[in-house]
């Protein structure tokens, strides 16, 4: 089985189990503020790392290319209150134009 298949099926299985476990645990766990705090910070850390790696990363080096321009425009759009589809479309268009220059 290829790595893509393993990633697809195993992540799907684990994520379903995580969802299901939530419905089977004692509710008192939710009252722990530490669990709450860490749980709300994990997506922030991982998503921010993903933004950085996908904007600057090229194998094992850091590059400044068309993607960065697209992401920068997306940040400005978000700042100005753009909705999700608009923001992504702007990022794609700007990046594609620079890539084709």
């Amino acid at each position: 089985m290829s790595a893509l298949w393993i990633a697809t099926l195993v992540t799907s299985a684990i994520c379903f189990i995580l969802k299901y476990i939530g419905y089977s645990l004692p509710e008192s766990l939710l009252n722990k503020p530490q669990v709450q705090r860490i749980n709300s910070l994990i997506p922030i850390a991982l998503l921010s790392a993903l933004v950085a790696v996908q904007s600057f990363g090229a194998e094992n080096s850091i590059v400044f290319d068309h993607r960065l321009a697209g992401v920068a425009v997306a940040a400005v759009a978000l700042r100005l209150g753009a909705n999700f589809p608009t923001m992504m479309l702007l990022a794609a268009v700007v990046s594609a134009v620079i890539y084709r220059l």
């Binding site: 893509l4 379903f16 939530g22 922030i44 921010s48 790696v53 992504m88 594609a96």
Partner: protein
């Protein structure tokens, strides 16, 4: 007296649910296109939406694999991002009180959006909250999967993903997902340090590791108030 039997206007809750489900669902097209751009087949792309069904985790899996990461890195990152759904389940369990097959379906539909709408409707009583959960969960599921397929088919027919900006759309998607979570100084601090740590690790760590490693930052920052 319990609020659970309180009457509520189903049309209003349904409207709120669809207002979330339709735009979020159409965003599935971006996922479909990104997955194809990262080398996943149409079948794999659709299975990620059908089986994994959690946007951030799905983008993470295709993002890590597309950047040359190992399956293990993709699984770890996607699963860490899926952790919060478990806590949503914990929160929703007493509201929904599910058993058997309904528990399996309800668990699969437990994501940011269904939980968010359900909690918003709680002031109207548990019946409204339950209705909001199911309407949003089912709505997002249907639209997300439909648009995943549309995005995947579209991307398959356009060729070089970079020429269409798909390689920038993926980090933009992550930015859009993290943006509304940056609500206070601590969250902004975690966001910036995670980005910096990931960039510092890129030259020295295998692909995928720079992303997972930042979970340690979340634990460190969240340990104390």
């Amino acid at each position: 007296m319990s609020l659970s039997g309180a009457p509520f206007d189903k049309r209003v809750v349904l409207r709120d649910s669809l207002a979330v489900a339709i735009p979020v669902g159409t965003y599935g097209a971006a996922f479909g296109a990104a997955a194809i751009g990262s080398g996943f087949s149409i079948l794999q792309t659709c299975l990620l939406s059908l089986l994994l069904f959690s946007g951030a985790s799905q983008f993470a899996v295709v993002g890590v694999m597309g950047a040359g990461g190992s399956a293990l890195s993709a699984i770890a990152t996607g699963s860490l991002l899926g952790l919060r759904n478990g806590l949503y389940g914990l929160r929703m369990a007493p509201v929904l009180s599910l058993t058997g097959i309904k528990k399996i379906i309800g668990a699969q539909l437990t994501i940011d959006e269904s939980t968010g709408v359900a909690l918003n409707q709680e002031v109207k009583g548990q019946a409204a909250s339950r209705y909001g959960f199911w309407a949003t969960g089912i709505g997002v599921y249907l639209f997300w999967n439909l648009f995943t397929l549309i995005g995947a088919l579209g991307a398959k027919s356009i060729g070089d993903p970079s020429a269409w900006g798909l390689d920038a759309a993926v980090p933009a998607a992550f930015l859009g997902l993290v943006w509304p979570r940056l609500i206070d100084t601590k969250s902004k601090l975690v966001s910036i340090s995670a980005a910096v740590l990931a960039l510092l690790l890129i030259p020295i760590a295998p692909a995928g590791v720079p992303i997972i490693a930042t979970a340690l930052l979340a634990i460190a920052f969240g340990w104390r108030n």
